[in-house]
């Protein structure tokens, strides 16, 4: 090898020069927009979608249950109910529903004209099979499993009426059922092995999974017999698109270059700087759709030192300059949040005063907590131990701008004496670090429809892992008062009482300094301007390609 040094070096030089030149070329390109007027929707064509999220290991969102699965499965699976932009629950596969007086029995009347794409009839028995599938420990469900926590049984009252029996009233049942993680799959298909079902789940949706070439693309084709759009859809009958190619381009710059050149039609996880560029371009449109449920926040592990001391937690938050980080890195595309919940949730409570950047106050708090000495590098020390914050960062879930926010927090917290150790990890190593309780701070997105997400994230029961091994209460909040508020809220049937309980719970969580809110879960899409009719489902803000068509 050393003999070939000069040649190798030359080749590397040439490659580097090539990359730089390509970058400059791309930067200099001005794309031309489509000026075709938007008329009647045109059927046909292939839409290419490029996702920046991790490629799912299973296309059945019952298994595990993360956002990448929701993104793709919303194209071929459907839920019993949906939610409109006002936050009201609307019919989908279920036409209507009634709850008993005590809130323990729910009857859902199902549509009687729907079949799965494998020919199986959609009926009460199919819904029963799906609930059983999610609750089966061998399915390794996490999101769906937690959402169905109170469902103790199902019963087919008639072929079109299914009854859910609950252990306690569940004010979040409809919100839970609207999510893609509890979408209804063909019971015939569910009987296959998990590997087979993961490769090509069968639903009632507008598209059908045709093939999946791992590390490359998933191909979806139109379901020509489709009849069951949700109540807020733009049209009825089959989808307009013939085919959807669902690609994975993890690198954000390549993803943007692909949509800019027209190689793909839609991208997700758009970077702030590219959103700003796209807004100035005629050929690209921007779709901003913050995710519901939790805000993006940094959770502090109150289950171990040093953050088991509330003063140290508060000191960390006072020493983190989040405002400047958000404005410099998100370039106006994100708004600072001071809430545990997303701004799309009506019950969200904000308390900006708790999160003022105040290094002097932080220093006092650390002194009071016993971290009063400082070592040669400027970090606080107590009993010979440095004030270290292990911070595993999931490079699959945090976009580069967010990772830079963490770097800026690391830099400002250092001034107060925190040694923040950022560890960029791939998804599986990141899960492993969490499972091993080897973290002090972490940012884990969690999406759920409605404020019941608070119960999943902050009830002490969520410190116990779900069958998949994941536990959602990463701040390890273990406060009987919060448990009580969340449990009561989840049973409250009166909307006003429910909202007031959730507001009390949020205040207590914020005042306990368990979480440092950053901004809403960012969910920005860029699409070619000739892609018409694309919208996101107001449930979990995933795009639906059902109404989309190509104006070209």
């Amino acid at each position: 090898m050393p003999l070939r040094h000069p040649a190798r070096t030359r080749r590397l030089l040439a490659t580097t020069a090539g990359i730089v030149a390509l970058g400059l070329f791309v930067a200099g390109c001005t794309a031309t927009g489509s000026d075709k007027p938007v008329g009647e929707p045109i059927s046909g064509g292939t839409l290419t979608y490029a996702s920046g999220d991790a490629e799912p290991s299973c296309l059945d969102p019952h298994v595990g249950g993360n956002f990448p699965q929701a993104l793709i499965s919303a194209q071929y699976l459907e839920s019993l109910v949906s939610r409109d932009t006002d936050g009201q629950i609307i019919p989908w596969l279920a036409e209507s529903w009634t709850a008993s007086e005590d809130g323990l029995t729910w009857d859902f009347t199902l549509r009687d004209d729907v079949t799965f794409t494998d020919g199986t009839v959609f009926d009460a028995a199919a819904v029963q099979a799906n609930v059983a599938h999610v609750q089966d420990p061998t399915t390794l469900s996490s999101t769906g499993y937690l959402a169905l926590g109170k469902v103790t049984g199902t019963e087919a009252v008639s072929p079109t009426v299914v009854r859910f029996t609950l252990s306690a009233p569940d004010s979040a049942l409809l919100e839970s059922l609207s999510q893609p993680w509890l979408a209804i799959e063909s019971p015939t298909a569910l009987e296959r092995s998990q590997d087979e079902n993961c490769a090509a789940p069968v639903g009632t949706g507008p598209f059908i999974v045709e093939s999946w070439v791992k590390q490359n693309a998933i191909t979806l084709v139109r379901n020509d017999d489709y009849v069951s759009p949700p109540a807020d859809a733009g049209h009825s009958g089959p989808a307009y698109l013939d085919k959807v190619i669902w690609r994975f381009i993890p690198d954000s710059a390549s993803r943007y270059a692909a949509v800019q050149s027209g190689e793909v039609d839609v991208i997700d996880n758009a970077q702030p700087d590219t959103i700003v560029q796209a807004k100035q371009s005629d050929s690209l449109e921007h779709l901003d759709s913050p995710r519901p449920g939790a805000s993006n926040r940094i959770e502090l592990n109150s289950g171990r030192a040093p953050f088991n001391d509330v003063r140290v937690r508060e000191a960390f938050m006072r020493s983190a300059n989040v405002d400047d980080a958000v404005s410099s890195l998100f370039l106006g595309t994100a708004t600072r949040s001071y809430s545990a919940l997303s701004s799309v949730e009506a019950t969200a409570v904000s308390n900006a005063a708790l999160f003022d950047y105040d290094p002097a106050a932080a220093a006092k708090l650390l002194d009071a907590a016993g971290w009063s000495e400082t070592d040669a590098d400027g970090y606080r020390v107590k009993d010979g131990v440095r004030l270290t914050v292990e911070f595993p960062v999931s490079t699959n879930q945090s976009i580069p701008a967010e990772q830079s926010v963490f770097e800026q927090i690391q830099a400002t917290a250092k001034e107060t004496g925190f040694d923040v150790k950022l560890r960029p990890l791939d998804l599986s190593s990141w899960y492993a670090a969490l499972a091993a309780n080897d973290y002090d701070a972490v940012s884990a997105p969690y999406t759920k429809v409605g404020p019941d997400v608070l119960r999943i994230l902050y009830h002490s029961a969520s410190i116990v892992p779900a069958p998949s091994g994941y536990f959602a209460n990463l701040a390890q909040v273990n406060d009987p008062a919060i448990d009580e508020l969340l449990t009561t809220a989840a049973r409250a049937t009166d909307p006003a009482a429910r909202a007031s309980l959730y507001s009390d719970a949020q205040n207590r969580i914020l005042e306990g300094f368990y979480i440092l809110p950053l901004y809403d879960q960012q969910n920005h899409y860029l699409l070619r301007s000739d892609v018409v009719g694309l919208r996101t489902l107001p449930t979990v803000a995933v795009p639906t390609l059902y109404d989309a068509w190509l104006n070209r």
Binding site: P2, V20, A253, D324, S328, P424
Partner: protein, 289 residues
């Protein structure tokens, strides 16, 4: 050829090159490379002389500034000064490059000497082992090592060192075998010197001289590889001021802030070129000497 003839031949060779002259003169490229090497050396030993600031100091309000009077190379997404970071990053790159080369050379010398000196069985075994290592491209070998031992600056350095070792080992073995059959070694053996005396006094000195050239060239390659690993997120972790990591961070913003990736990239390229130019220049001099 007798010993005397060899001596005569060598003497003739060196007088020729003295007459040839031009090889002694410095080319423009060599001069420029020398100046840049000096700059890198100062940057590595005393970075604060060239850039007094803190490479990790953030200033969110002056993020994404293009090169200007206050920030010659511009600023990155957190308002850190790119020039300061590039200068401070020299240390990482040079230390990683030099250490990795020393590791690779050291291992290469041991393996090469074993194969070249200890008879057929050892030679066969070491050779097959080297062939197995050669079957993997060097960078793949480094990646494998990092997968097993985890990412970080230390593992990246060792990984790069290990992956260059087989190449060095081969050259040393070949060189040893050539030197071993040379007339002056035969003469020493005939005169009754022991095997170790022959190895230490006659063979090794004549084998290792060309290695100096290889090492200089090797540092350039090791720096590029180390930057590659950091670029892939397997070496230095952000926000460390390391060239490969900076290049990687800058790539996200390549369409809006070219300077974030351009300057670290430029320094990687210039450093590799400098090492190559200097290495070849030394090579030429030694051939003629």
């Amino acid at each position: 050829m007798s010993d005397l003839e060899v001596q005569a031949e060598l003497a003739a060779h060196s007088s020729q090159s003295r007459q040839a002259g031009p090889a002694r003169r410095l080319g423009v490229a060599e001069g420029a490379a020398g100046v840049f090497a000096l700059f890198l050396l100062v940057a590595a030993v005393a970075p604060t002389l060239l850039a007094p600031g803190d490479p990790l100091h953030i200033d969110p309000l002056s993020a994404f500034q293009s090169p200007n009077f206050a920030h010659g190379f511009g600023t990155d997404e957190s308002g850190r000064d790119i020039y300061t970071r590039v200068v401070h990053g020299t240390q990482y790159s040079l230390v990683i490059g030099a250490t990795a080369t020393v590791i690779g050379l050291g291992l290469g010398i041991v393996l090469g000497t074993l194969a070249g000196m200890l008879g057929r069985v050892v030679d066969f075994t070491v050779n097959r082992f080297l062939e197995v290592l050669f079957a993997f491209p060097g960078l793949l070998l480094a990646l494998l090592f990092i997968v097993i031992f985890g990412p970080g600056v230390a593992t990246a350095t060792i990984a790069v060192g290990l992956s260059t070792a087989p190449g060095y080992a081969r050259i040393i073995r070949a060189q040893l075998r050539t030197v071993r059959s040379a007339a002056f070694v035969e003469a020493a053996t005939v005169l009754g010197r022991t095997r170790w005396q022959v190895l230490l006094r006659h063979i090794l000195p004549n084998t290792l001289a060309p290695l100096f050239v290889l090492a200089t060239l090797g540092i350039g390659q090791a720096i590029v590889w180390a930057a590659t690993l950091s670029y892939l997120g397997l070496g230095a972790e952000p926000p460390t001021a390391e060239w490969g990591a900076m290049l990687s961070a800058g790539r996200t913003y390549i369409t809006s802030a070219w300077w974030m990736s351009f300057f670290p990239g430029l320094f990687i390229v210039l450093t590799a070129v400098t090492a190559t130019v200097l290495g070849r220049s030394i090579d030429r001099r030694m051939r003629h000497a």
